[in-house]
Each structure stands twice: as C-alpha cells, then as structure tokens.
Subunit: 279 residues, 2 copies
C-alpha cells in the first residue's frame, strides 16, 4: 500500500509529494546529479543525487549549528578547514569570526561550488574572500598527503553512502586528529539521532577513542530525513559544551544559550557512547 | 513537477511514499476516518483523517514530553484532566505520578478510545485504571458547563483544523485558567516551531494574557509535519522551566535535564511572544 500521509494536511505549508516544486537547473557532474529547485515554502533548494542538501528557508539553522559551536570553543581560531560544503554556507559562517586568517575548502566536486555561486549567491559569496583557498580533492586524500596544523576542522558531508562514506571512517578521524593543533576542535554533521542511531553511536565511539573530549549535540531540521539532526564535536583541550568567550557574529539562530542547550544531557550522551541507547 | 526526495535515500530506514505500509484496520466514525497501519520502521500507526497521530516507535517522546514537564512543575498533582488523547498515551504517563487521585479523559470520539484499546494495548492500558474517568464530549463544552479545580490540564489535540480549532482559542484557554487551582499548571501541544510559527506565536500570546508564567519548549518529532514540535506550558505560581522535585517515573526519555534543556532560550522566547520571530 502506498500512502501519502500529508495529502489532507491542510495545516502545513507544504505537501510532501512536492507537486509544487519547479526545477530551474540540472546537470550530471563527474560525481553526481546536481539539481536546483524552487519551492513555494522552502525557497530555492540544492539537491544532490535526489537528496535535499539545503533550502534557502532553513539552511541557516544547519550552517550556524555546524560551525559556531566549534569556532567558539577554540580560544583563537585562525586556520580552519571545511571538508565538503561546496555550497559555501560553512565558509560564510566561519568568516563571521574576525580571528580567521585562512579557510581551506576541500570540495571534491568543483561543479557544486560553481552551481551554488550562480544559484545561491547569498550562501556562497564568502568563497570569493581572499582568505579562502579552494581545493578540489577528496578530503581524506588531502589530509593523507599533507601535513597541517588546523585550529578548527569542519566536515560538512553528504550522507555516508558512496564517496562520503570514508568521511565517517576511523581512519579519516585519526587523520583529522593528527592535523589539528593542541587546542584544536573538530566537528562533523553526523546524521539523525532517530533514524540513524547506529551510525551516530559509531561516530561517537570512534571520536571517544581519538579525542580527550567528544560530545553530541542536536538541532531539529525539517529538510533532512529523521529530522532530529546530530553534530559530533571533539576537542583536544577545551570542553565544547561550555561557552567561554563572546563573539558578536550577527547570527540568525545561534547564541551561547542555544549552544549550551543543544548538547545531550549526560545520561543520554553516556548511553549513546556505550551503545546502550535504543529507541 | 512532482518529486520524491527520498526515493534514492538509501541511508534512511523509511521511504516517504510509504509503499511499505499495511492497513490493518479502518473505519469512518461519527467524527473522522480512523486507520491503524503497520510500518516496518515505525511499527503500528494511528492515523486520523489521513494524518499520523502516533507510532509505536516514537510515541514515547511525544507523550513523555507533553505530560511530565507539567506534572513535575506542580508540587502535588492530584487531579488531572486530559482533553483529547483518546489513545491513552497521556493517561499512561500521568499515572506514573503516584500523587494522582483522579484523571478525567475528555475525548469527543469514543471510537478512538475503543480502537486504541484493541490495537494499541501497551499505550491505552491505563484507561482501565480505576482513577480514570472517561467523558465523551467536546473539551470546551465540558469546561463551559461545569466547575472544576484541576491541578494539571493537558491538551493532547489534533491539528487546529476542524473541531480541534476551538482547543486553541483564547476562550478555551480562559476556561482552563478558571478551572485550574491556584498552583495549577496547563500544557498543550502547539504544533511546529518551523512550519506553524504564526500559530505558535498566537498560542504564546494568548497564554501570556491569561497566566502569570507561560513558556514554549520543544522536541524533534519525525512523524509530525515540521518536526520541530512545540509544547506551550503555563502556570499560575511555579516557574515550569525549573525542576524543583524528583519523580522516579520509569521514563524512556524524559529526565530533569531533558526538561530544562527543552525550553527555548530567553532571547527566542521573547522574540516569539512579541511576534518578532521570523524564519
């Protein structure tokens, strides 16, 4: 039986068969199908291989919550690297921190960057900043073949299927640890606490083996499957659950209060890391 | 253009066209279409007029988060009333508090209670408890034609369309205020902070006019449209954001830490009540 639960949902601004979506661009790049769609509620949407990556309506929740907790945790973030994130949303947020001297954006598919510069100028504008260096390469290979000293590492990947799978491997995390300064902070999007619980558990366990501190925080995101989205943050020195310094970053959603409330309570964090969480 | 964003989403446990749903019961009651479906990930689902009301996979998030913050806020909750909630999930949670002497369940559609007793015995079992009194009537009419002194009022309604619309009116809230004890606490589900923001603002403003304290707290819920679900809580005496007493209630998710983190930060709460929140 096929069922559309939302066909009668007169109280919601969208219908879930997306019959009101208009495609304004599509191409098949070397790596994936890239589409730009227009939706009456969500605005413009970036879709890769059929999966929504961002919408202009709600991308700020995701990008602010991925970037700022890590940036605020570091006492003086000068060198940042973003792996994935060709849309430029993370670059935009990183550049809100005046301490930043350099941002390396490692995006395998250069066409994502170019398409976003054309269709999402408000999101990708920061990519033209002179502090930003673009590397068109797989993130794991880039770290493997160099030697770096980053303050903050941000992984803004697609789902862990296909090429993005290695961006969730223990090997990748250990390369990140090796290329992070002593007061460095690492954060990655890590899928849904409800839909992808076994995956979140694995990420948390891998990080616990490599870093002095690692925690999970969450944000409800309507456009991603499972909605209760997790971010996994790890630190070599400073507790990322506390906000120790102030930044006036002109944020739409993020604040120190949002930051502190977003972390899982200890009892759930402990159950998650021990693999006992089950729902 | 009709688009199924999730047809290629190999990393999620569900497909959003619900092609793997099996209907095990349906009827047209006096008020609505009642369906019971079975889903490989969500388990058994109650669907009213085509909208998911609960799934056995995740109903505990909703019911625990609707009931316990209000119950814990009251210093000695003896008399509770639940308006809506014919599935029995709220009754089950209220009865976890040993102080309770009486629970009135006001459910307009008696067939919802009966269907849930047959198909969701784990959720509705509490309805047979001798402290529970069932009233088959519209909630607003029930309060209008009586005089009560409740400690806790819980509104577990469907979306504010059709008959449930009056359960979000200022008139209804003022009847609740009149029938609440001096240390009484009121809570209602109040839709999605993302999809239904104008509605949440209106509920919060109505409550602010009637109660000494009123706040919004949230929980990510995958089965409801908009997902970032709100609960609006109001109190005559005690600040519901704090947890002042301990209850060992055998909860699957709720805890004092979950309670305190669920409330919106002051800046967002204030923007919400003033109607300035906009995303």
């Amino acid at each position: 039986m096929t069922y559309n639960f939302f066909e009668k949902d007169q109280f919601s601004p969208i219908n879930y068969n997306y019959s009101d979506v208009v495609e304004i661009y599509n191409e098949k790049s070397q790596f994936q199908k890239i589409q730009v769609l227009e939706h009456p509620f969500f605005g413009r949407m970036l879709v890769l291989d059929g999966i929504i990556q961002l919408t202009t309506k709600d991308e700020f929740f995701y990008h602010e919550m991925l970037v700022h907790p890590a940036m605020i945790t570091h006492p003086h973030p000068r060198e940042a690297i973003i792996i994935g994130g060709g849309d430029g949303g993370c670059v935009r947020e990183v550049l809100k921190h005046p301490e930043i001297d350099s941002v390396t954006l490692v995006e395998m598919d250069i066409r994502v960057i170019e398409v976003c510069q054309e269709f999402f100028p408000m999101i990708s504008a920061g990519i033209n900043d002179q502090r930003v260096k673009i590397v068109s390469q797989d993130g794991l290979e880039y770290l493997e073949n160099g030697s770096f000293a980053f303050d903050v590492v941000i992984v803004d990947s697609t789902d862990p299927i296909g090429p993005a799978k290695r961006l969730f491997s223990e090997r990748f995390y250990s390369l990140i640890e090796k290329n992070l300064n002593i007061d460095g902070v690492f954060v990655t999007q890590s899928e849904s606490l409800f839909f992808h619980l076994p995956h979140v558990i694995k990420v948390q366990q891998n990080l616990k083996n490599l870093f002095k501190m690692s925690y999970c925080y969450t944000q409800a995101l309507s456009t991603y499957a499972g909605n209760w989205w997790t971010f996994s943050i790890a630190s070599k020195l400073i507790d990322p659950r506390k906000v120790l310094r102030q930044v006036d970053g002109n944020f739409r959603y993020y604040s120190p209060e949002v930051h502190m409330r977003a972390f899982l309570p200890d009892s759930i964090q402990n159950a998650l890391v021990s693999g006992k969480l089950d729902w």
